[in-house]
Symmetry: C2
Subunit: 249 residues, 2 copies
DNA sequence: CCCAATTTGTTCGTATGTATG
DNA sequence: GCATACATACGAACAAATTGG
């Protein structure tokens, strides 16, 4: 009966999204926005069915998806409980996208930047210590960034590509698997419209220095320079965000 | 009708495992063992239903689970395709367990050890540079390992605990999220019955040296010593595995 | 110890929508 | 444009397990 209120879930101008993903994202939002926290019980299946106006099948499949991502745990008779954030798939593309969309905490960003610094220095070191590693794609990225500074081309794409190349080129599938994290970070925080030209002019030579150390096969230098690069990026970004927060409050 | 060939998928003496997890693991095995590779189409729903003797619902929910883990992608009308291993959730507890159970490649292990070295040195560095970090749990782990060497206590648990403490104690949720990887690695390769006392006697002082560097708040030393520790562990393990492989062939 | 209520687990039949050929 | 094959979605029913009286 309660489904009378929302007669047109399908009539939204959504291109090809399935009911499944709608419901998954809706429930995920409950958790990410904190309406349900670790230890809470999810409403039971029939209640969700009534609240969202979808069939039980959809709800069950949505729950399966979220269990697979470590967000829920379901026990017979007991209901479905929300797991702590420490159990959630931390590097899952979708989950990261949801977090950035529905709000990440300052702590989350801090730790993300610190972790990123660690893995990217690691990747730079790996690349530099790979015999015969071809660094030309990295240098080409730097050229593309330089062109973008003159208004010819896409800085954002070149910058992101540089960092992804590092992760994927290190010859380590675990490092390579962290690219969705970077992509989400870039999408959320370095979107083209917030790029500051001042920062770009400063960071470009840092990028090139890293690429050159890798081309020279010098792991220690690559590591050191990468640390400098991501440290500056961190400072720039967190400072910019603090300014935004300051404006809002 | 066609299910007459396998009348007893359910009659196995499995205690409380759900049909869902059975089917998920069965399909996962198809992928991990390589019967289906990237780009292949999964048999359609009805065929899986007939082959496994379960309902469509079960199959659909199993597919949802594996889509959530990045192993499958389903497209309307087109069928369900197997994704490349680079898309699979690399740090997912279940998926790691399946891989170790159904066979990991030598490359996989090599990269895992290299990645592990990177993140654990990172964690040691983070811990050592945390002001007021309490290193006594780490030192207690070393004591427990020393006792285990005298036959009093569980070396395996103490060793694993040492490394997990490092990851969880670094104050970084991304590092902490890598503990399932370590746990699976330890379970698969350092199980109590294959521990070599010689290696244990050598590695114990290495552990203590790391803990002491962290207690002293010396990130550079912590990093250096950790690198030594995991390097030796890597060599010991890969050598032992090579011996096993050599015996078998 | 058993009984009953609650909640998820599982199956089946059917209908719809959407690409493909 | 039509038919086909397949995933998508719904609803009703029964099974099984766990909790609490």
């Amino acid at each position: 009966m309660s489904s009378g209120k929302l007669p047109d879930t399908t009539s939204f101008p959504r291109p090809a999204r399935s009911l499944h993903s709608e419901v998954v994202e809706e429930i995920a939002r409950w958790l990410i926005e904190g309406h349900l926290v670790a230890g809470d019980l999810l409403p039971n299946e029939v209640e969700i069915v009534e609240r969202l106006g979808v069939s039980r099948t959809i709800v069950r499949e949505a729950v399966r998806t979220m269990v697979a991502k470590g967000m829920l745990q379901v026990r017979r008779r007991n209901g479905t409980v929300v797991l702590g954030e420490d159990q959630w798939s931390m590097f899952d593309r979708e989950l990261l996208a949801w977090r950035f969309r529905y709000g990440v905490s300052e702590d989350f960003l801090e730790e993300l930047f610190r972790f990123r610094a660690g893995v990217e220095t690691m990747a730079a070191e790996f690349c530099a210590s790979t015999p015969g590693y071809d660094a030309t794609p990295l240098l080409e990225c730097c050229d593309a960034m330089a062109l973008a500074l003159q208004g010819k081309g896409d800085w954002f794409a070149a910058d992101l590509n540089f960092h992804c190349l590092l992760l994927t080129g290190a010859g380590n599938r675990f490092l390579a698997h962290l690219t969705p994290m970077l992509e989400n970070l870039f999408d959320a925080l370095f979107s083209p419209d917030v790029l500051v030209e001042d920062n770009m002019r400063r960071t470009l030579p840092r990028h090139r220095a890293v690429a050159e150390a890798i081309a020279a096969g010098d792991p220690a230098a690559a590591r050191e320079r990468m640390l400098l690069l991501v440290g500056e990026a961190r400072d720039d970004t967190l400072q910019r965000i603090d300014l935004l927060r300051g404006d809002r409050s």
